[in-house]
């Protein structure tokens, strides 16, 4: 498309391509979408949809809602697609998909996530433009899994899930190790969304792949994920068992930061069970390990759990101190961990309510509202906050 023609577009080419991909993926004609939209209670005529697909204009929110129902995706997926336009100009100019995937992998490792995303997308474009019989399925699958890693780090969970599902759709071209990693990544996304049963099944399958390939590090990650699901389902004792197995294998493989992460989560399980002394002991030890390894998220995580342990013991002064230490590490320079910040603000808010301190309560509530919009994870605290907000609306 020429630059003049591009300037005439008032919509989003990326969103248009995404809509077209969804439509053709379902095998729908434009007219069929029109019919399906009507069945969903909306009106989208086929010429309108064609304009959206060409990027000539943006669909309104109502139209997006109907399209989301027709294609069974979240509305969030549409806004995520538009957000990714920021990375369009980072796409490399090369023509070798292999070299571009390598470049993307290097960018992912160095933390340049936007660049990594652009590389993987370019590689996929080149690969999928080849004649069908010449498509390198293995490289496509690897590029998709790496693309999912980049999308996941950018917080675009539904798009990451889509890439992983696409990669797993042709498992014959994928090594069992790659399948295991894709399954684990899917499992993590589903655990974040509170889809526990799905997450459990995927992590169990990943464990089988890891064991058949004798990949201990992958097996440890699968055990870790299974522990996480059990913990989220209110089974801390069983979670601890899985976490301990994972920690042991991580230690054997030298995957230090994951070992520390698991130890923090074991401490969290003890806090869940009301065994505060044991929990604090484990968390303090894990915190020291995280500090010596320079893992800021893990430090923030450990401080946050320590705050929770003191909160449950009604020691608000210590709890507050821990949450502040955690905040300082979860919001450092450009790095920000909204899930941890939300968790801390939530308990600050609860303490302020118990203490009947309206100023503190108001400040914490304001922070929660701000942070909520950037969270896709379904933490118990997020659900409690949402329920509180909903009650407030219905009472109003």
């Amino acid at each position: 498309m020429g630059s003049r023609a591009r300037q005439d577009l008032k919509g989003s080419v990326r969103l248009g391509n995404y809509l077209k991909r969804l439509r053709t993926g379902y095998g729908y004609s434009l007219r069929r979408v029109e019919e399906r939209a009507r069945a969903e209670g909306g009106e989208i005529d086929n010429s309108q949809l064609s304009r959206y697909e060409k990027g000539i204009c943006y669909p309104s929110f109502d139209k997006l809602r109907v399209l989301a129902s027709v294609f069974n995706v979240s509305i969030q997926a549409f806004s995520d697609v538009v957000d990714l336009e920021d990375f369009e100009n980072l796409k490399p100019a090369g023509e070798s998909p292999n070299a571009i995937v390598e470049e993307g992998t290097a960018a992912l490792k160095s933390g340049d996530i936007g660049r990594a995303f652009a590389c993987f997308e370019r590689a996929l474009e080149l690969l999928l433009d080849s004649p069908t019989e010449q498509i390198d399925r293995d490289l496509v699958a690897r590029a998709r899994i790496s693309q999912a890693a980049a999308l996941s780090r950018l917080g675009k969970q539904s798009l990451a899930e889509h890439e992983l599902r696409s990669a797993l759709r042709h498992p014959e071209g994928l090594s069992r190790e790659a399948q295991g990693r894709a399954l684990l990544a899917l499992s993590a996304i589903h655990a974040d969304q509170g889809e526990h049963i799905l997450s459990e099944l995927e992590s169990e399958r990943a464990l089988r792949h890891a064991r058949s390939e004798q990949r201990d590090d992958l097996a440890a990650r699968a055990l870790h994920t299974m522990g996480r699901v059990l913990a989220q389902r209110g089974r801390p004792e069983q979670a601890i068992e899985r976490y301990r197995q994972a920690a042991e294998v991580y230690a054997q493989c030298g995957v230090r930061h994951e070992e520390i992460r698991v130890r923090i989560q074991i401490g969290g399980c003890y806090v869940d069970m009301g065994k505060y002394r044991e929990g604090i002991r484990m968390l303090t030890a894990a915190l020291q390990q995280a500090q010596s390894g320079g893992h800021r998220r893990l430090e923030a995580h450990a401080w946050s759990y320590l705050g929770l342990a003191y909160y449950h013991q009604d020691d608000h002064r210590r709890a507050r101190g821990c949450f502040r230490e955690s905040d300082a590490r979860a919001n450092f320079n450009r790095e920000k961990h909204p899930d941890i910040l939300f968790h801390n603000a939530f308990y600050e808010w609860k303490m302020a309510r118990v203490e009947e301190n309206p100023t503190r309560e108001k400040i914490a509530f304001g922070r929660l509202k701000t942070l909520r919009s950037s969270l896709e994870r379904r933490l118990p605290e997020v659900e409690e906050f949402d329920a509180f907000v909903e009650r407030g609306r219905s009472d109003a």
Partner: protein
């Protein structure tokens, strides 16, 4: 985010509503060998509904069981080894008929059972908490004087949604899920499945950052 959750809630509620008729009377989904045979075929007086809990691998079955002149709800579970438990009965010898069971299981593994009480016209439900052995007291979903039948259950957005027919209408109510014995709190991260990021795991940083 809230909009998205509301949209999915609406979609699921609609689906629940549409499924009301079929779920409550869903026929047996298991082969004969997989059913609680001791009570089959003569004593199995209502269609069997089943649900499987992913966590302990139990398959729960419920059916309307005729005991003399009255119907009760029978409940049995099959453990992962394939052995069926002795059924327990709800409403036994209470002089009224309980029929049309519906089952659902939440993310923590708590099993919910709803049924219609033909004597009073009420739709009632009870729950077995995850890891527990005692069912909770039976609670009515219908209001005083309201008659309901053919209940269906679904778990939507942390609530138990009960849909049932009332006259020519379909009524949808939702109630809170039962608290699990241990209520999890805090953040549990998955590992980094790609093994390339160092300190990220399932916790995400803002765009442009890669964790430390």
């Amino acid at each position: 985010m809230l909009d998205r959750r509301r949209t999915s809630l609406t979609t699921l509620l609609t689906a629940t509503c549409l499924l009301t008729g079929s779920l409550a009377f869903a026929g047996p989904r298991m082969s004969e060998q997989q059913q609680p045979l001791r009570y089959n075929p003569r004593s199995l007086d209502g269609p069997l509904v089943t649900v499987t809990t992913g966590l302990d691998g139990r398959t729960w079955s419920a059916w309307a069981y005729r005991d003399g002149a009255e119907y009760d709800i029978a409940l049995s579970f099959r453990d992962p080894g394939g052995v069926w438990s002795e059924p327990r009965f709800i409403g036994r010898d209470d002089g009224t008929d309980q029929v049309q069971p519906a089952l659902a299981v939440d993310g923590f593994g708590t099993v919910y059972l709803a049924f219609a009480d033909l004597g009073t016209g009420a739709v009632r439900y009870t729950a077995l908490p995850a890891g527990g052995s005692a069912w909770t007291a039976v609670t009515a979903v219908t209001r005083d004087g309201e008659r309901g039948f053919m209940p269906a259950l679904s778990i939507v957005g942390g609530r138990l949604v009960v849909a049932f027919r009332s006259g020519r209408l379909v009524v949808i109510r939702d109630v809170p899920l039962l608290d699990p014995a241990v209520r999890p709190e805090g953040i549990h991260d998955s590992p980094d499945p790609y093994g390339s990021s160092g300190d990220s795991g399932s916790g995400r940083t803002t765009p442009g950052d890669g964790g430390s």
